[in-house]
Amino acid sequence: MTVLDPAAATDASTFTDYLGRHERKSLLRFLTCGSVDDGKSTLIGRLLYDSKLLFEDQLLSLEKDSRKHGTVGDDIDLALLVDGLEAEREQGITIDVAYRFFSTDKRKFIVADTPGHEQYTRNMATGASTSNLAVILIDARRGVLTQTRRHSFIVSLVGIRHVVLAVNKIDLVDFSEAVFGEIVAEYRAFAADLGFETLTAIPLSARYGDNVLERSARLPWYAGPTLVEHLEDVIVDDVAADRPFRLPVQWVNRPNLDFRGFSGTIASGIVRRGDAIVVAKSGRTSTVKSIVTFDGELDAASAGEAVTLTLADEIDISRGDVLSAAADRPEVSDQFVAHLIWMADEPLLPGRPYLLKIGARQVTAQVTAIRHKIDVNTGGELPAKSLALNEVGIANLSLSEPVAFDPYAVNRETGAFIVIDRLSNLTVGAGMIDHGLRRAGNIHWQALDVDKRARALAKGQKPAVVWFTGLSGAGKSTIANLVEKKLTALGRHAYILDGDNVRHGLNRDLGFSDADRVENIRRVAETAKLFVDAGLIVLVSFISPFRAERQLARELVEEGEFVEVFVDTPLDVAEARDPKGLYAKARAGEIARFTGISSPYEAPDRPEIHLDTTSAAADLLAEQVVAHLQEIGIVPGADVTI
């Protein structure tokens, strides 16, 4: 192995050779993972240090930092080279994925240094998602730990098929062949089911450099490659190039009327001029007319290349479409089963609408069922109603429209998606598709001859959902009752869906966890939608504490058909009224997860109607609601005779 050695490049011809070699290098992305104190940062520091990419002043500042934060006495603490952020340096642990770079003559390496701390599993999945190989560190003194199992499981889950087991700190067990052998045997037995194609075990000492770049004289019994030798030579099959052609369209390139190109990065396979392609979702077909790049047209391009295709026919294609090999198409469905890694403090709630980004397409999606979650330490299945931070589960998802995809096991690019919270905009989950659900294809909408408009006309009204939200005891049911009376007096057809009543029947099976609250509201929103379809004015009286679900209810009906009424009563007032004695029980700890006390209430930002119950009597407030309904034409004005 030749290390990048500038000193060797002092005469001109050697140098020209050197540049040529560098241009022909390939790229390997790998991640390092292990438990706290296994020495990941030290190992990466060692790789950077030994590959002589550490320049003099970085070394000087390192020596200065070591005296302030270092944990290895007067030696240089290699871990300080890579522990970046100030807060982390003070805590002495790595808490976020750091990306590092080093080169040898054969390859450039991008290293994702991922944290070993228990609560940061999401970072490991992040680092693994772009890696082809994982270096799993084990402290030779401690052997295979729970965290080793967890990290190996996630590495396998995210589709990494090549693993190096780096048995570190071998100097601290007297370079013992027996200790190494025991650890490797235990790990191999455990990892047998994880689907790794290669598993290479290397005894090393990151701190002293044994078997990192240089072969160690202190491990004469070990005949295998050093870590860097292995990383340079390992053949990490680029399966993506062997799969059927897929190109998610990122950008429609239309500089003038004569040119219409579809730009994107080839996710898998090879495309040649003249190939037959299909737009996966619409089924429209054409052939590739040209493969355009800044550097000239290409005859062929393969996975990983960013290109622009022009087609022989004018067919409708927009961002998010997946151009595919006509003979080998991806699945298209609006329902699928996927592995989900949850990455947010707020748990995953089935029924809640999230955004899902797959390729260049963004759609609304709901988890319709969590089949089970997985204990990442044992691989065992556990029942679950929601997923918390760092939990992994298998779930059914339902999308607002069909998307093209391949199973993740077949294609890491077209089988992966991220989940985004619609209100916070945070990336809250990562998903890997297992397979599509056939159901979606077989349940078609039954078209009915009498439509919503006809039914509403027969009743002489415009249907609507009037959604009362507020704390328990705020006065929602009281006001809704009065509104129904007034509407009935006006000859209108209204119906109340009351939270307590619905929980006795339709939603009898639901409790008060966040997940159940979301499902409770989802069912009521769907029911309200059916009633609106029937031409009714639906008065919904539910605490409905979460904005996201009220937004879902709003989006189920047409614009203008949803009237949100915020029944605004301060907590202390509602608690003083306490008509059902519930607050007293909640305060006494007899009711868990009570809205306002031990479960949050998210007040509406812009309700159509805001009722302050401390300012007027219920009857007057009900009048306000009716007046608003008249104003927007749901109910004809009082002066109109019907």
């Binding site: 970046g84 450039k108 190039a241 950008w251 622009t308």
Partner: protein, 302 residues
């Protein structure tokens, strides 16, 4: 088929183009920060490649402190003309009016007012919701954990604890009004990659990177170029002509030259490889204190 099918430069290029296209497609009003340096030159080339044969679907923004090397400004204007680009130049006029110069207020205050504040002014004034920057993760320790899509609050602040996880090639571009994303398409490039790519692609760069006789004074062991008559000479200081070049470009009073005979790209690359001091040591602002870059980033510096 092995992954050695594509060279590392080809892979880096494709990754950057992917990021640039994604931003153009998903953001309402993106802009590309253009600092005129070698990294900006590479980033601009990648953007031109991303949309070829179309034009760039976003403007460039140059934050001009009024203290840039004259050759940088000339290069900038020539580039804009040659490529038919839409360039916005912004200077913090309040800072100029207040007489803020690298000499009057020290490098830290000066950088904050004329670069960080000026950048925030421009981003706010134009309502940009995404801004490309040429920063690389290998430049400095606190950058190693930076995302490709780096989220900024509506005050342009960066909170290292509150960044979105980035998986695969799936970037989350959702922002609320006023919030924005700084995008770093060169995240995974190293300095050597940048030079190799410039060499391979024959990308034009500012002549200051090449060795030439230039008038300089020695201050604290560093060569400062006397680019115009605004540089106050200290008692006994006389500019002398030396063969120097710059490894990094910025404001001339804050950017030290290195003595060098490297006058061609291969010579520069070779010199870089045998350099005994790393790239950012020429940038005086980093010497202020150990965690200086992290602090600047929290405040909104690129």
């Amino acid at each position: 088929m092995s992954q050695d099918r594509l060279t590392h430069l080809k892979r880096l290029e494709a990754e950057s183009i992917h990021v640039i296209r994604e931003v153009a497609a998903e953001f309402r009003n993106p802009v590309m920060l253009y600092s005129i340096g070698k990294d900006s030159s590479v980033m601009l080339r990648l953007a031109l490649k991303a949309f070829y044969p179309g034009k760039l679907p976003f403007p460039l923004l140059h934050v001009d402190t009024t203290w840039k090397f004259r050759e940088m400004i000339a290069f900038r204007d020539a580039t804009v003309r040659r490529e038919g680009l839409d360039l916005i130049v912004h200077t913090n006029r309040d800072g100029v009016a207040a007489g803020i110069t690298p000499f009057s207020h020290g490098s830290s205050t000066y950088t904050n007012v004329m670069k960080t504040e000026a950048l925030k002014q421009a981003l706010t004034a134009h309502g940009f919701d995404a801004a490309f920057g040429g920063a690389r993760r290998d430049e400095e320790k606190s950058r190693a954990k930076e995302r490709v899509f780096s989220f900024r609050t509506d005050t342009h602040a960066w909170d290292p604890k509150n960044q979105r996880p980035e998986l695969w090639r799936l970037y989350n571009s959702r922002v609320r009004p006023g919030e924005s994303i700084r995008v770093f398409p060169l995240s995974n490039w190293t300095e050597l990659d940048i030079w190799q790519y410039i060499l391979l692609e024959k990308i034009p760069i500012v002549p200051l990177y090449f060795s030439a006789e230039r008038p300089v004074v020695n201050r604290g062991g560093q060569w400062i170029m006397v680019d115009d008559d605004r540089l106050p000479l200290e008692p006994g200081e006389t500019p002398e002509l030396r063969r120097v070049r710059f490894r990094t470009l910025g404001c001339y009073p804050l950017t030290a030259a290195v003595e060098s005979d490297a006058a061609t790209l291969p010579e520069i690359v070779r010199e870089m490889l045998i350099a005994r001091t790393s790239e950012r040591s020429g940038r005086l602002i980093d010497h202020d204190d150990a965690a200086s870059m992290e602090k600047k980033k929290r405040e909104g510096y690129f």
